[in-house]
Subunit: 381 residues, 2 copies
């Protein structure tokens, strides 16, 4: 029996468009079929455009965003490498842990979750010793903090280090310029601002990153070996694994929608609905965790007022209003909720719907709220 | 634009049923949604039934069959472990290579690709020294050889070694009894006899395997860490990654179809169509690579007669008849073609259709064939 329809306004997956949903049901082709390969090549080319790169190695890896992170550390890190990681949320913490498990000597540059990290601190850590790779999270989904990549990229380049970026939540929501910035490795997920189903990790590696792979003392893990992956995703189209064909169909349809809108317009749309949301939250006396100037437009963490119960609040949205939102992770569990307005979900009508539902959930916990004022504030943009 | 309809009778992906295709287009739910979790639990329970196991750790891993293999070696192997691998095709070779890349001291028990391996040789290798793990491929997709697991499982158990099996092509086509056999780790793919789209790897680990993970000197890679995976797939349902929700929908629908048929009936069906195919091939003077007694019913490798060009032959089937079949891999490239009659594709009408197309492709290369005789032979079962 088909599942209920729930509006997905949490940290992902985001809502998929009717065309994207339908594409998954297209007749399955073989992963080496002459009609499938041009479709795959088109996906790879569109991903290059989205990442802002000419990297030949740009592909949709089978697996989750975490698999994309694993592919980056699995290919680019060897035991003993000094690696600097910016940790200001769960996903930075995960990046550091994944690198440690590859034997890296990890220097964590930590900032309290929810606070805005100082790029200069990461720059200083890069400059403090020889460094093989610097890894950071662009849009930290666990807090909603957006990191300024430029000074870190410049420092990594000056130090001869590879610069690797978790672009899971930012790709498809913000304009990306990987080559211009000097990014050597970036990975994303399809279920955030691209609004395709989860299960693929867009991944790009620069020529410098591939040189690093070629110079390894021992080969990378078989499943993520950059050379073997390019056997299939490059001109040879040699068998390495069976690509998730129906997910590639869906991603292809989603990327067509992104291209039709254009990334400038798409970033504007994400920023506009985020601003609407913030005006409405303010009218409900709710405070975002992160100031607008440093926040990710696609994900907004909101502090709970004293006495509001996280589980009851989110269950009210899910069960009464059929809206999914996210809870806090790690040290923020129970203290914030997270609203994702991503991709196909980043629309004004969704802002109004979730503001009304939030107001109703607060009222159900005995708080006085003026939902009409919140909706009017959100509309007045 | 939707792709053309091609009948998938190669080594996978196999054809998906209309219900399975449609399930992917169901409205997306969050991976922690209260309506999604019972569906996931049902998938896990049905996979336990298919593997023939009570293992709590039984789950659909995000990624390809190769990711499943990587999860097995990533969790169960540490540097220096002596590992015995049966290598009689590309996938055994891959298993050995994946283990070596985890630092294992791999003993390969090699058999010429296409020949039937002697389980006693693998047993002797197990007994020749201390052994941490023995890995074999049940149904070798690159050749169509079926391995007798029982003596190897017994020897592994007697030696105190873990027994790990590549069940990619056999699960859902042959009755599996992992607990009865003494299998500690098995992984599969969804795009073979389960007839779900590619992108998930069913995976099961025994209590002994999990003890091995707990006793590791260093933790496994983050993305495949068995303990972290069970945080999500166990009772806690804690976030570790975003499950590929729409693929889980499709797998759920596919497993419902498997359960409705029953595994006994499903194995009978695979065996019956394989026998039909062999009768028809014989009438066309085509010789299978592997004798029926040692062959996988779901995949049949067929020797090319002298002078038949592999590329021209397969292109004729694909472009004229809209049928995908597979070529040979490794040392068998150009020497055999591979016919998969898997899951939803394992039907008598597909046997007749592909026999007619094969006859036509031979005729197009100037050979005299009697297609009517081949179809009559196939029908006469």
């Amino acid at each position: 029996m088909p599942p209920p329809e729930v509006l997905l306004l949490g940290p992902g997956p985001s809502p998929t468009s009717p065309l994207v949903r339908a594409a998954q049901a297209w007749p399955l082709l073989g992963h080496l079929d002459p009609a499938f390969l041009p479709l795959l090549e088109n996906v790879q080319q569109r991903l290059r455009e989205l990442f802002g790169t000419a990297n030949a190695f740009t592909l949709p890896l089978a697996g989750t965003g975490t698999s994309g992170m694993e592919a980056v550390v699995g290919n680019l890190i060897e035991p003993g490498d000094r690696v600097v990681v910016g940790v200001h949320g769960i996903f930075g913490q995960r990046f550091a842990e994944a690198a440690r498990r590859r034997g890296a000597d990890v220097v964590e540059v930590r900032t309290e979750f929810g606070a805005v990290p100082d790029p200069a601190a990461i720059v200083r850590a890069i400059q403090a010793g020889p460094v093989r790779l610097c890894g950071v999270v662009h849009a930290e989904t666990s807090t909603g903090v957006l990191l300024d990549l430029r000074p870190i990229a410049a420092a990594a380049r000056a130090a001869g280090a590879l610069f690797a970026v978790d672009a899971v939540t930012s790709l498809g929501g913000l304009v990306w310029q990987a080559d211009d910035l000097g990014v050597d490795a970036a990975f994303s997920g399809t279920q955030k601002c691209l609004s395709a189903p989860p299960g693929l990790a867009p991944l790009t590696l620069s020529a410098a990153a591939l040189r690093r792979v070629a110079e390894r003392r021992s080969p990378p893990p078989f499943a993520v070996d950059a050379g073997l992956l390019m056997g299939y995703f490059g001109a040879d189209r040699a068998y390495h694994h069976t690509a998730p064909v129906s997910l590639v169909y869906a991603l292809s349809a989603a990327l067509d929608e992104v291209a039709a809108e254009g990334m400038d317009g798409r970033e504007r749309r994400h920023r506009a609905v985020a601003a609407q949301l913030r005006r409405g939250l303010d009218a409900l006396d709710l405070a975002p965790l992160v100031a607008a100037a440093h926040a990710t437009p696609m994900l907004t963490s909101v502090r709970y007022p004293d006495g509001v119960d996280d589980r009851v609040f989110r269950a009210h949205l899910r069960n009464v209003h059929r809206i999914e939102i996210g809870g806090g992770l790690g040290s923020l569990a129970g203290r914030v909720f997270r609203l994702g307005l991503m991709g196909h979900g980043a629309r004004p009508e969704n802002v109004l719907r979730v503001l009304a539902a939030i107001g109703d959930a607060l009222a159900a916990q005995g708080r006085a709220v003026d939902i009409a004022a919140a909706l009017a504030a959100a509309r007045a943009g």
